[in-house]
C-alpha cells in the first residue's frame, strides 16, 4: 500500500473514509512446520482471471480460480478501479501475482510446495463484509488443497 502522503487529496480522503473496524477478534495460528515444508497459495484482490473466464463486474464479491497449469502470462485484469496504473502488471504479472517467484522459491527449497489452485477477487466497490461468503468458500477450497499458508496481494 502506498503512503497516504503520496496520494492525491481525493484518493486519500476516499481511502480514509473506508476506515473500518476489525472484522472480528485477531486470528493467529502458529505454523506447525518450517516454511520450507509448507504449502502456499496465492490470493489477490487484483481482479485477475484467464482471458476466457468471465470478467469481474463493477462491484463483485465473486472469485476466479487460477491454476498453476495455464501460464500466468494468460492472465488479464478487470479490476474496476481507475485509480491505479495497470502498465506494471502488463509488463510483469509478478508484481501483482508472483507465481513465477514462488515457483523459484519451491525450486530452491525455500518453500515446500504450491497449491494446485490460486484465487483472485476484485477489491473495489464493496465493504469487506460483502466478501464473507465467497471468502469462506475459498478457505474451504484451500483446506481441501492442503494449503498451510496464503500469500495475499491486495490491489
Amino acid at each position: 500500500m502506498v503512503r497516504l502522503t503520496d496520494l492525491p487529496d481525493y484518493e486519500r480522503d476516499h481511502l480514509l473514509s473506508k476506515n473500518m473496524p476489525p472484522l472480528g477478534p485477531p486470528v493467529w495460528t502458529t505454523p506447525a512446520k518450517p516454511v520450507n515444508q509448507m504449502r502456499f497459495a496465492l490470493v489477490t484482490t487484483a481482479g485477475l482471471h484467464y482471458r476466457d473466464d468471465p470478467a469481474f463486474d463493477f462491484a463483485d464479491a465473486t472469485f476466479r480460480p487460477i491454476d498453476g497449469v495455464e501460464g500466468p502470462d494468460n492472465l488479464v485484469m478487470s479490476h474496476s478501479s481507475v485509480n491505479f496504473d495497470k502498465t506494471g502488471f502488463a509488463e510483469d504479472v509478478n508484481i501483482v501475482f508472483p507465481l513465477s517467484r514462488f515457483r523459484e522459491l519451491v525450486a530452491t527449497d525455500v518453500v515446500g510446495s504450491l497449491a494446485d489452485v490460486h484465487y483472485s477477487f476484485m477489491g473495489a466497490g464493496l465493504p469487506p463484509g460483502a466478501y464473507e461468503r465467497s471468502a469462506a468458500q475459498v478457505a474451504g477450497l484451500l483446506k481441501q488443497d492442503k494449503v498451510d499458508a496464503v500469500f495475499l496481494t491486495p490491489v
Partner: protein, 216 residues
C-alpha cells in the same frame, strides 16, 4: 482489517511487489513477508524498509508516437480517434510481439478498433452510452491498447509520466474525459457515479484541453 501478518510497503497502488522485471527485489519483498511466519505472537504489521528502486530519469517515457495535443478543433471524434488509433496500431503489434503475445486487451467482447469507432460515433452524435458494462470494458481495453503501444519499446517507464501523457495528450484520453463530464453533468445520480469508473479525478482535473477546462 487486522490480518494476522501484514507487511506494509511504500510502492504505488497496483504494484504490491515493486517494479516490473525486478525479480531480485520482488524476492526480497516476499522473503520479508515469509519471515513474519517466524514470529511467536501477533497480529504483526511490519514496515518493509525499502522503497522500490527509482526509475532512471533518462529511460522515462519516450513515446513512439508524437501526439498532436488534442485541442478539440481538429475534426470529428471519428476522425481524431481513427487517426490516432491507426498511428498506434504498429506499435501495439510490436508490443504484442515483444511481450511474447501478452496483452491486457480482451476484456470486451468486441475488438478495440470496433469499440473506439462506436464510441467516436456516439460522441459525435451527442449520444450517452446506455450499455455501461460495454462502455467500461471498451474503455479499459482501448486504454490498455494505448498504454501497451506507448510502452512498446523495452525499458523502464515512469508510471506517473505515462498516465499524464495518456490523459493529457491523447485524443482518446480527451474523449474519455468528455464522457466523464457527460455522465457527471447528468441529472441522474446513478449516471453521475458512472463518471467515476471511467477516469481518475486527478486526470480530469489536470486535463487542459477543452474537455478538461469544463472542470474549472
Amino acid at each position: 482489517m487486522q490480518p494476522p501478518r501484514a507487511l506494509w510497503v511504500t510502492f504505488p497502488l497496483g504494484r504490491p511487489l515493486g517494479n516490473p522485471g525486478d525479480a531480485a527485489f520482488q524476492l526480497d519483498v516476499i522473503a520479508a513477508a515469509l519471515d513474519l511466519l517466524n514470529r511467536s505472537e501477533g497480529p504483526v504489521l511490519e514496515d518493509y524498509p525499502h522503497d522500490a528502486p527509482p526509475i532512471e530519469a533518462q529511460s522515462a517515457v519516450t513515446c513512439p508516437v508524437s501526439f498532436a495535443k488534442d485541442t478539440g478543433d481538429n475534426g470529428s471524434w471519428k476522425t481524431r480517434l481513427g487517426r490516432e488509433f491507426s498511428q498506434l496500431k504498429p506499435w501495439y503489434e510490436l508490443s504484442y510481439r515483444r511481450r511474447g503475445g501478452r496483452t491486457l486487451v480482451g476484456i470486451s467482447d468486441q475488438p478495440p478498433e470496433q469499440n473506439i469507432r462506436v464510441l467516436a460515433e456516439q460522441l459525435d452524435d451527442g449520444v450517452l452510452p446506455t450499455d455501461i458494462t460495454w462502455l467500461k470494458r471498451a474503455v479499459e481495453d482501448i486504454k490498455a491498447y494505448y498504454t501497451e503501444a506507448m510502452t512498446a519499446q523495452p525499458g523502464d517507464y515512469d508510471s506517473d509520466a505515462l498516465q499524464a501523457q495518456f490523459w493529457q495528450e491523447t485524443s482518446f484520453g480527451a474523449a474519455v474525459i468528455a464522457l466523464y463530464h457527460q455522465f457527471q453533468n447528468s441529472n441522474d445520480d446513478q449516471l453521475k457515479l458512472i463518471a467515476r469508473i471511467l477516469a481518475p479525478r486527478g486526470a480530469v482535473g489536470a486535463a487542459t484541453g477543452p474537455e478538461g477546462e469544463k472542470t474549472q
